[in-house]
């Protein structure tokens, strides 16, 4: 291969669950970032603990990258069947580095095969388990890292292990590096990523971490949840850091308990959240309605995944928008946020707690497996930009929890703080929170609750419009598809096409009709089969968006398919 000036490489590792792909990914991305490379990683995996076919994509680039691409420049298949699993993404330009028997009779000239005896090298060092680190050394070498830096990092990574293990891993990395040198020399295989000193000190984290950090920044001090992919990382993040930050992180006996605990915690003055996925959220629906009636704040991380029912537990989808918006008996307001970037994940999660507290409504974060599991480097989070805004009051005697105030938001007291009694009732109630069957009061209370939505409408996060404020074509999307669509649009290389990304999907921003109205052509892109956001837009603006890019096979959109899809529509 002629030496290309490759500034954006997509590496894919593929193998069974339990083969250590995550170790390779973990070492490689951190090491490369430490060397100043921009990195992005995302994974797709099966709902099983061992076996099957999982793959991780690692992009390494001179410029920041934060989106899933279809293209594979370098593939490391770790077991038989891996090549077959990725067949649709492999092209003539794909270089497959593997042991002969892993690729087997799949070497058809569909791709460029380069043999690398990982296992043999590892076994020579002492055990085939080291073959992962051989691959790390190889990849780091191919990407232009220096040997001392590689060895330094490997040592650091295994620092907590026995001296023997550290030594063997170091050897493995070195052997991998030599293999890279050899390949570079022998067949000219190498990539040139321009390191950027600025990247070195950036953050490298995934969506789950960003949400967890945002929760702490938002003052979260209570999480009650029941494990469910892909929402568990937020629970484990807060459990891990609970002691340090005074967060009670409790695994509930079921999701019903989880949501009712969170409501109890808010009542007592905590800032509580639950983290769940569709099936768990389904069990929380009665609790959601309770929060509506009690006028309790509540923060929900709803990690979407393909459904109905158990569906594809470890995959991604954006099909719970309508569910989140309309579920719960009766009528009460709520706010739906849908972070699309790590920064949004952090700031919006923090903000969710303030919004919930301020308007006394449930705030639901619509995240998904793609957002939670993907990671890339970003400059940082600015703590000066977040603040814990507490809205509860110290009560006076004769305190009325549901005082009929103009904007519907009655001052929220908490028991034990002040002289008043704080009475919350899931029946229709009077201003004191006492059960009532006064039907005139019923009307006032319904109106009061709904009025809070009008107040919340004054603080809707506007959609992001870019690159141009003037456009002929407008691509509308929401939530986790942000970076993919952004990169696709930049690839289109047209100056008449802009992206409109919603990180708050409900209430829908008032400018929506205007912004859409200005476009000649509007395209909506979402990860579901029925175009739920398009329906929400139609309902709110009357505008029917006919051009839709929908995906629902369980994977996130790739830059290429969005680019191609848009090209076709925009001609």
């Amino acid at each position: 291969m002629a030496k290309k000036q490759n500034t954006d490489v997509s590496i894919v590792l593929c193998g069974q669950a339990g083969m250590g792909i995550q170790t390779v990914e973990g070492i490689l991305t951190r090491m490369l970032k430490g060397a100043g490379c921009n990195v992005f990683a995302t994974k797709e995996y099966m709902s099983r603990v061992r076996g099957g076919k999982n793959s991780t994509e690692i992009r390494v680039a001179s410029k920041p990258v934060s989106a899933f691409v279809n293209r594979i420049d370098l593939l490391i298949p770790l077991n038989k069947g891996a090549v077959e699993h990725l067949r649709d993404r492999i092209s003539k330009n794909t270089i497959v580095i593997a042991e002969e028997q892993v690729v087997g009779n799949e070497v058809h000239g569909n791709f460029r095969f380069v043999e690398a005896p990982f296992t043999k090298i590892a076994t020579d060092i002492g055990n085939k388990v080291f073959s992962n680190v051989v691959a790390v050394g190889l990849l780091a070498g191919l990407l232009g890292m220096k040997l001392p830096d590689i060895l330094d990092y490997v040592k650091k990574f295994f620092a907590s292990k026995a001296a023997d293990i550290v030594e063997k891993n170091t050897k493995a990395a070195e052997a991998g590096f030599q293999l890279a040198e050899d390949l570079a020399g022998r067949i000219g295989l190498a990539f040139t990523i321009e390191p950027d000193a600025g990247v070195k000190d950036q953050l490298l984290l995934n969506g789950g971490d960003a949400i967890g950090l945002g929760a702490i920044a938002g003052g979260c001090n209570f999480i009650s949840s029941y494990p469910m992919t892909p929402s568990t990382p937020v629970l484990t993040f807060l459990a891990r850091n609970g002691r340090d930050f005074g967060v009670i992180a409790e695994q509930a006996e079921d999701e019903i308990a989880a949501v009712n605990m969170a409501i109890g915690a808010w009542y007592a003055g905590a800032r509580a959240m639950v983290s769940t996925s569709g099936g768990g959220f389904a069990l929380m629906v009665e609790g959601l309605s309770l929060a509506g009636m009690l006028e309790s704040p509540l923060v929900v991380n709803l990690g979407q995944r393909p459904a109905p029912a158990t569906g594809l537990p470890t995959r991604t989808e954006q099909a719970d928008l309508e569910f989140a918006l309309y579920s719960g008996h009766g009528e009460f307001p709520r706010i739906l946020l849908a972070p699309g970037t790590l920064e949004q994940a952090f700031y919006l999660t923090a903000r969710a707690f303030n919004l919930a507290d301020k308007f006394q409504v449930p705030v639901i974060l619509l995240t998904d497996q793609y957002l939670v599991d993907s990671y890339y480097n970003i400059p940082g989070f600015d703590l000066a930009k977040v603040k814990v805004e507490k809205y509860f009051v110290k009560t006076e005697a004769d305190y009325k929890r549901y005082e009929l105030v103009k904007n519907g938001v009655s001052p929220r007291g908490i028991p034990g703080f002040g002289r008043g009694l704080v009475c919350l009732d899931s029946d229709e109630h009077d201003e004191y929170g006492r059960i009532t069957e006064d039907l005139q009061l019923r009307i006032k209370m319904v109106d009061k609750r709904l009025k809070k939505l009008e107040s919340a409408k004054k603080e809707i996060i506007p959609p992001e419009l870019f690159p141009k404020q003037k456009y002929k074509n407008l691509i509308v999307c929401w939530g986790s598809t942000y970076h993919v669509v952004k990169e696709a649009i930049s690839r289109l290389d047209r100056d008449d096409t802009s992206l409109l990304h919603y990180s708050q999907v409900y209430p829908l921003h008032q400018k929506t009709a205007d912004l859409l109205g200005k476009a000649g052509k509007v395209v909506v892109l979402e990860g579901n089969a029925t175009g739920q956001f398009a329906k929400l837009i139609r309902l709110n603006t009357g505008i029917e968006i006919e051009n839709r890019l929908l995906k629902y096979n369980g994977l996130g959109f790739t830059v290429e398919e969005v680019t191609a899809g848009l090209k076709k529509i925009l001609k």
Binding site: L203, G219, I263, G264, A268, A270, F417
Partner: protein, 289 residues
Amino acid sequence: MDPKLFDMGQIDVAWCPGCGDYGILTVLKRTLTELDIGPEKLVMVTGIGQAAKIPHYFKTNFLNGLHGRALPPAVAIKAANPSMVVIAESGDGDMYGEGGNHFIHNIRRNPDITNIVHNNMVYGLTKGQASPTSQRGFKTPVQVAGVILEPFNPLAVAIALDAGFVARAFIGDADQTKEIFKKAITHKGYALVDVFQPCVTFNKINTWQWFKDNTCYLDQTHDPYNRAAAFKKATETGKLLLGVFYINPNKTTFEDEIAIYSDDKRPLYERQPDYNRLQKLIDKYRTAG
């Protein structure tokens, strides 16, 4: 303290005249008074049902939540602010039926709350269907041929789960019930009191008289620290026994276990996240290995 402190004045109580719920309300007020627990210090958490309406007739902080879901908010309230006294109270249907999963798992969790269950062996508010504690053969508009399920034995289950405090009372005996309530509330950890409470409207079998005839107190020799003996008493046929069946004094409460209070006693509402520490945690993602 004066029990009048809890009085609501002239209000319209939705219970039927003659219902056992009145007695429980009165006894509870007296208990709290004698324990010097004022309305501001108390939080009552209830579900939905006739029993669950109790905080509406009572001056106190309360969260009257969903049917079957009194325990989860109660546990969270206690955890978020351990200085409050928390009572979770509801009917037998609410606590053992719809809320059964919270019942069993919160015994395991052992929060320092008191769980009072009005056991009238029927669903009162929804007009007389069987509850988990309804006796075999009890006829209702749904159980037209009589109940065919084995009655739920809350005491035996609580003992099987090694609950810290397990008792049964009959509201026909206000004084003894008060003594049991006192012990339950002062017990550190989860305390269950199942209280027989006649529903005069929908349960024409298990009436005041029936309970009088079919209950009697555990005798003096009963050792509440003996789990096997307690189980035996709880499953004995014959008269339904009253009193404190079982105490396990060696349990740590949930609030003590969760550790966030070990060096900071402030309730959660007084706290702010430590942004310096958070900055450090964020910065770890710059170098994390």
